[in-house]
Every structure is written in structure tokens, then in C-alpha cells.
């Protein structure tokens, strides 16, 4: 099959360390799950397959208020920080999540802080004497550090890594900021997990084969609705919606206003408003269990006041209806009817309010899942995920040590470019840069395949997506970087990014889904049986792509500068036109030649004829190409020495080749998990 055409490749090689040995070691049971919330945060563990549980601090408090105080000499976090808030509102930072990954121009909500933009980085001025400016990332890191210490006390040793949850709608900058906060806190961030996905994991919804779920998350200050689809073991966010200024605190405010009105206080003092709010909160919580509650509110002059659940419900109804409207919009965005859902999950303390549960049940036509504490459900899901990623075995989770079948991409001509080789140790990341085929190409279809065969059609197809918005550039000038990241739980994330514009698209798949050990064996043996014909087919496909590329380039050059007679004299033009026709004919003949035959020798012969046509076309158009290049050089490099020009050309040529180099394994820890 091989053409004996000996040439010295010239390169000298060194023996490399095995790629398999570069994987990170595992620390089963030492992963933690963190729910980094706007108003409060939690940490949970689920070591080595155990049921998840949230961890309390020394005082037995599970919830860490997301508040950091810079009022004193030492940074204080949580409840003690909250206690300093009234006295130093501008030096005690709460709800910092709203600032994460944001520039000063993005901050459109009200807050008591003095913001400073230093070098494009948003900072909060929390002290003048001495001057102290903190970034939202640093503030979040303080919260994460406190939770990490809590986990270390519980685990009796270091934490290996963490899964941190983020809202499903967080953009890249917000996610990166969260990741950075984790790193500053000394945590290896295994993965960021969408909050609704974490809630779904907590309920084990990923064990099903497939399904569609709604996650209704009503916290203290925010409301989020997400529609998720489980497909082949992976959750996809189909739609998100909500209101970043709607939550249980609004319920409290509505009830407090009602109490103040009942007390006949038209212009209450700040203290009276505060005690009304505190009383309202307590009333709201008690009314979740009781139909009516009697209280004394001496500061408001109210004695033995009866408040009924019906009153509360009437007060919050407009707010509750706003959440329902958002739910319906999200369903519509997802293109689903309520009846098509397979489950609804409640998240957030405010979903304890009976009226909310009732409305959710009516809207989605089914009782919601409620048996996990809605304040803890996200942390539970994160803890389960962290446990898996630490290398623990859990029921229903298949952990792999090595990649059972190579993972790659389909490139021009249906050829497979392997990115992660078979038998590489998991977890692993690899990336490779691809380029465009023609100037007309403004998108790139990323077809992810699995298997050992040389042609995409003989492999398992895992996913397909299109990266759009590639700038129009001459052939081979665009740069699309494709990253394959395979996590400990065999989740493959494929990200394609155009390096000039930064446009990005990603997909997540479970390559092992529905793949049995027998099938792996069969596919590997098949690839050995077909090795000869596969290489021939690959050679043919490559010959075809190469000839196509040269035809395109020559046509383009003739079209652009062919009218300039000094570059392309009539004789040369004739010869080139003839060679182009012959090349076209070779393409057509090749299709006919291989159409009815699959033998290796026919395929080889077809590849050889394409290669001959390409070499002929290249040879005949070479003088024209050289003159064209010379002209371009004269125009662009006037005033430069010959040495400079040669050096520049050599660099360019080398860079162009390097651009498409073999898949590089990513070893940098910082990159891992992106």
C-alpha cells in the first residue's frame, strides 16, 4: 500500500515521556461542593459515594452569609461581618456576586460602595486610611477560603479540589472571575457547575436515560427558572429566565409594609421599618406551617395581632405571578409544553412558601420535587459532582482510567484528526489549531467522532456543531483552536474558538454513553482489520483535499492578477488553463473510479492520479506563482534587505506549518477544567 518514495525527513527525535503519565493524580473523597450564592453560601461533601451533607461552622451554622467586612484590621467573613454592616455600610461587602466579572459600566443596580476602576479592573474602595481597594474576585475568595477551612476541619486534611456552582446564565467573564476566586482561595476548581444542573444532580435526575426538567429557584433576592434537557448522560440548559431583583426579601417587604399600615405608621422611623421587616420574615416562615399566627409588635404599637396565611398570600400574589410569567416564557423559549416535562425541582428557601408550591404545581401540572432542603440542594449536587471528580466511585457512575477509544474531529475530506489518543489517562486536555480551506468559509462544522478508523464515517459520531463568525481570510490564514477536555467522570467538553475574533462555541458529551466493553473491543479489532484500506482511503481523501486546495488557489490567483500580462503571458495562461481542466477531469475520473470499487489497489491508483494531477498543476503554475510572489514582495517589502525578506518569509512559512501542528496535551493546571 505504501509508496516507496524514500526521503530523509531530516528531523532528530528525542524519547518523550509517555503522554499517559501526564494526567493528574486523584484524591478520592477529598472534593468539596460549594454553592457560592448572592446572599449566602454553603459547602457540602459526599466523600467516596456517601450521601451529601452540608458542613456547619464551629457555632453550628450551616449557612455562611455572603458578607465580607473590611471594617476592622482583620477581614471578617459571614455572620460577624453582617453585624458590622449597619455601622460601616461602605466597608462591609455583601452580594458581591453581582459584581463578578463586571466592568464599572455594567453596574446598573444601586449599592452603597465606592467603585474604582483601576486599569480596567473594577474594585471596591473599602478603606482610605490605610487605602484599601478590593476586587470582587478577592471578596469572593474570602468566602471560598472560609468554606474551604470548614471542609478541611471536617475532612481532617487538605481539600483536593472543588466544584463551584454558578448561575446558568453566567457569561465567560463571570465564570472566569469565579474560577479565579477559587484559585486565590487555594482551591483547585475541578469544574464550574450550573446551579440548576447541581439541583438536578442532587435529585439523581442524571440517572435516567433522558428527560426534560424545570428548576424553579427562588432565593432571598433573585429568581431563576431554568429548563434542562438530559441527553446521553449530559444536562444541557435549554432556556433560562427570571428576575435578578425578585425574591423572598420582597415578600418580607410587602408584609412589613402591611404591618406598618396596620400600625397606622405613615412615616415610620428607620428602626420601625427594620423591626417590621424582621417581624415579617418570622411571620412568613411561621405561616408556611400555620394558617394564622398571633404576634405582639410593641415597637410598632401592635399587640396580639393576628396575621393569616390568606393575607400573606394576597400580599405576595403579584410577586408570585411574576415568577410564573417567567416560567411560561422559559418553557416557550425551550419550545416545550408543561406536559412534556419529566420533573420540576424547587430550589431556594422562598420555595417553602405554600402558595409558591401551589402555583408551581399548577403551572407545570405536577407536584415539584421537594424532599431535599431547598437551601441545600445546590450544594448537595455540587458535592456529588466534586466527589466523582476527585476520583471516587459512586453508584451509577463509571470511572475510567484510560480513554477507551480515540476522540477526534472530522476534517476536510472526511478524514479524522485524532485529538485525544486511545489509552491516554483520564482526566486529560488536548488542543489543536485548525484553519480555513477557502476565503468563502465563514463557519466551521465541528464534528466530534470516536474510534480508531481513519475516516469519520467509520467512527461513532458524538456531536456536531458549527462555529460561525469566522472572518473572511485567505485560505489557511484563519485560526480555529479546538480544545478537547475529558474529565474524570468522562464528560468531554469540546470548545472551538476563532483566535482573531474570539468567537466561541462549545459542546458537552459523554463519549462512553451507550458504549459497552465488547463494542470497544470490536471497534479496535475492526480498525486493525481495516488498517490497510483505511490508510488508502485516507490517502485518497488527503490527495483529493490537496488537489482541491491547489485548484482553488490557482483559480483565485488567476482571477485576481491573471489579467496582468507581465505576470501571466498568454502561453502560460493556456498551459495553466489546460492543467486546471485536467485536474478537474482527474477529480471526476477519480469519483468514477472508486464509485464501484473498494479495493485497496484501486483506491491507491485513484490517489496517485490525483497526486499526479496536483503535481502537474503545481509545476505548471509555479513560474506564475513565483512572479506573483515577487510582485507582492516588491510592493510590500520595498526598502527592506533581501535578508530581511527571506527571514520574514521563512518565519511566515514556519508559523503557517506550526499552526496546524499535532495535538498538544495541555499540562498547565490553570487551563485544566476550562
Amino acid at each position: 500500500m505504501s509508496k516507496i518514495n524514500l526521503q530523509d525527513t531530516g528531523a532528530l527525535f528525542q524519547i518523550a515521556e509517555p503522554t499517559a503519565a501526564q494526567a493528574a493524580p486523584r484524591a478520592p473523597g477529598r472534593g468539596i461542593g460549594i454553592d457560592l450564592g448572592t446572599t449566602h453560601s454553603l459547602v457540602a461533601i459526599a466523600p467516596q459515594g456517601a450521601a451529601p451533607r452540608v458542613l456547619a461552622d464551629a457555632e453550628g451554622r450551616v449557612i455562611l452569609p455572603s458578607v465580607v467586612s473590611y471594617a476592622g484590621e482583620r477581614v471578617v467573613v459571614g455572620a460577624p461581618a453582617m453585624a458590622q454592616q449597619e455601622e460601616h455600610p461602605e466597608r462591609v461587602v455583601s452580594s458581591v456576586k453581582r459584581f463578578m466579572g463586571r466592568g464599572a459600566a455594567d453596574i446598573e443596580f444601586s449599592h452603597p460602595y465606592q467603585l474604582v476602576g483601576e486599569g480596567g479592573v473594577l474594585r471596591i474602595a473599602v478603606g482610605d486610611e490605610p487605602r484599601r481597594h478590593v476586587s470582587p474576585i478577592e471578596v469572593s475568595a474570602e468566602l471560598l477560603r472560609a468554606l474551604k477551612q470548614r471542609a478541611e476541619a471536617e475532612l481532617g486534611g487538605p481539600v483536593d479540589g472543588a466544584v463551584i456552582t454558578v448561575p446558568a446564565y453566567f457569561d465567560d467573564a463571570q465564570r472566569q472571575a469565579t474560577r479565579d476566586a477559587g484559585r486565590i482561595a487555594g482551591l483547585k476548581v475541578y469544574r464550574l457547575l450550573a446551579e440548576p444542573t447541581a439541583a438536578a444532580l442532587a435529585y439523581g435526575l442524571d440517572r435516567g436515560e433522558h428527560g426534560v426538567f424545570a428548576i424553579y429557584d427562588l432565593g432571598g433576592g433573585t429568581f431563576d427558572i431554568s429548563v434542562l434537557r438530559l441527553h446521553a448522560g449530559v444536562f444541557q440548559v435549554l432556556a433560562t429566565g427570571g428576575d435578578s431583583a425578585l425574591g423572598g426579601d420582597d415578600f418580607d417587604r410587602a408584609l412589613a409594609g402591611h404591618l406598618l399600615a396596620r400600625a397606622g405608621l405613615g412615616e415610620p422611623s428607620r428602626r420601625q421599618v427594620e423591626s417590621a421587616r424582621i417581624a415579617a420574615r418570622a411571620l412568613k416562615e411561621r405561616l408556611s406551617a400555620a394558617d394564622s399566627v398571633r404576634i405582639d409588635l410593641e415597637s410598632l404599637g401592635l399587640v396580639d395581632l393576628e396575621v393569616t396565611r390568606a393575607e400573606l398570600e394576597a400580599l405576595i400574589e403579584p410577586l408570585a405571578q411574576r415568577t410564573i410569567k417567567a416560567c411560561k416564557a422559559a418553557l416557550k423559549d425551550a419550545g416545550l409544553r408543561a406536559a412534556e416535562l419529566d420533573g420540576v425541582v424547587l430550589v431556594g428557601g422562598s420555595t417553602r412558601v405554600p402558595r409558591i408550591r401551589q402555583l408551581v404545581e399548577m403551572t407545570f401540572g405536577r407536584p415539584p420535587l421537594t424532599n431535599i432542603d431547598p437551601d441545600q440542594v445546590v450544594a448537595h449536587g455540587a458535592a456529588i459532582q466534586a466527589d466523582i471528580l476527585s476520583g471516587s466511585e459512586r453508584p451509577g457512575v463509571t470511572l475510567l482510567d484510560v480513554v477507551p477509544l480515540s476522540l477526534g474531529l472530522e476534517t476536510m475530506g472526511g478524514i479524522v484528526e485524532k485529538i485525544i489518543p486511545r489509552n491516554a489517562t483520564i482526566p486529560i486536555s488536548a488542543r489543536q489549531v485548525f484553519t480555513n480551506y477557502s476565503e468563502q468559509q465563514t463557519g466551521m462544522v465541528i464534528h466530534v467522532v470516536q474510534g480508531e478508523r481513519e475516516l469519520a464515517r467509520d467512527n461513532r459520531s458524538l456531536a456536531r456543531f458549527e462555529l460561525k463568525g469566522i472572518p473572511r481570510l485567505p485560505p489557511s490564514m484563519a485560526r480555529v483552536e479546538v480544545t478537547f477536555q475529558l474529565d474524570a467522570d468522562a464528560l468531554l467538553t469540546v470548545t472551538a474558538r476563532e483566535l482573531m475574533t474570539g468567537v466561541k462555541q462549545a459542546v458537552e458529551v459523554k463519549p462512553t454513553h451507550g458504549l459497552s466493553a465488547e463494542e470497544v473491543d470490536r471497534l479496535v479489532i475492526e480498525s486493525l482489520d481495516h488498517a490497510g484500506e483505511d490508510y488508502s482511503a485516507r490517502n485518497l481523501a488527503e490527495a483529493r483535499v490537496e488537489l482541491g486546495r491547489v485548484i482553488l488557489a490557482v483559480r483565485r490567483a488567476v482571477g485576481e492578477v491573471g489579467h496582468i500580462e507581465s505576470l501571466l503571458p498568454p502561453d502560460d495562461r493556456m498551459a495553466i488553463e489546460t492543467a486546471l481542466s485536467e485536474a478537474d477531469a482527474a477529480m471526476v475520473a477519480m469519483v468514477a473510479m472508486v464509485a464501484g470499487s473498494t479495493t485497496e489497489s484501486d483506491t491507491e491508483a485513484a490517489a496517485a492520479s490525483l497526486t499526479r494531477a496536483r503535481e502537474r498543476l503545481e509545476r505548471i503554475s509555479e513560474p506564475f506563482a513565483a512572479r506573483r510572489m515577487q510582485r507582492a514582495l516588491n510592493a510590500g517589502m520595498a526598502g527592506k534587505s533581501l535578508d530581511e525578506i527571506e527571514a520574514a518569509l521563512a518565519d511566515e512559512g514556519l508559523d503557517a506549518r506550526r499552526g496546524g501542528h499535532s495535538a498538544a496535551l495541555i499540562q498547565d493546571d490553570d487551563e485544566h477544567g476550562e
Binding site: L6, Q7, T9, A11, L12, F13, I15, E17, Y535
Partner: protein, 142 residues
Amino acid sequence: MHAHAMSSSTMSSSTKSSESSAAAASATAPSVAASLVVTSRAAKVMREQLARRGTPQAAIRLGIRGGGCTGYSYLFEFEDREPRASDHVLVKDGVRVVVDPKSMLLLKGTEVDFETGMRGHGFKFTNPNTQGSCGCGESITF
């Protein structure tokens, strides 16, 4: 497609390798002696590097993998695991070089030598199946 035919040029090398410790191994495992040649000089450097790495018993894996700007590139690395059943194993002066059967198709007749000179030093693969190379020399065309 497994290469069993011995060409005269590789014959001498395989004989040499049997003189050392290779007799048993080449009798049991599918032998690549027929189609891959490792020079004594190359084997000596491999042995030294294995010893320096602290794994004198490990093998060297040579293979071809898809990738690189013009298609394929060489894989050349230490192999700590035992060869797989389908691997071809060549033993030269006590050093095991393993090649998977698919790569063997494209390595048939390749000589692995060690070179020192103007360009620095390193292993050199002379592969009769190659057609050309890219500028960096790491990718090969068949």
C-alpha cells in the same frame, strides 16, 4: 498486512538482536525484526536513557499517529506498561521497542539510528514509506 517478509538489509540486524537477550522474546511475540531496524548505537542510547530515567526495564514505544500539518507524525516515547498482545516487540541489545500493529504498516523497513553532529543529537528515523516532510520534520507524508 502484517509484515513478515524479511529483506536482506534487515536480516543482519535481527540476527544481531537475537545474539543478545532477544531470542526468547522474538520467538513468542510477533517480531518486528523483519521490518524495523534499530542500530546498536540507537539501542545503546535508549538503554542509557532508560537507566537514567530509573526504569531500565521499561520499553520504548514507536508509532505513527494521525496529526501534524501534513498528516502523520511519529510517536516516540517511554513505555512503562507491558506491551499489549497485538503489539510488535523488537528486542535490540536488551532494549525493547514496541510498535502497535497499525503503525507497523507505515514503519515497515524503518531504520532507527542515533545521530550526533552539527544539528545536535537525536534519534533519526529513515522510513522508506515516507514521501516528503514538512519544514519542521515532525510530520510526514505517506
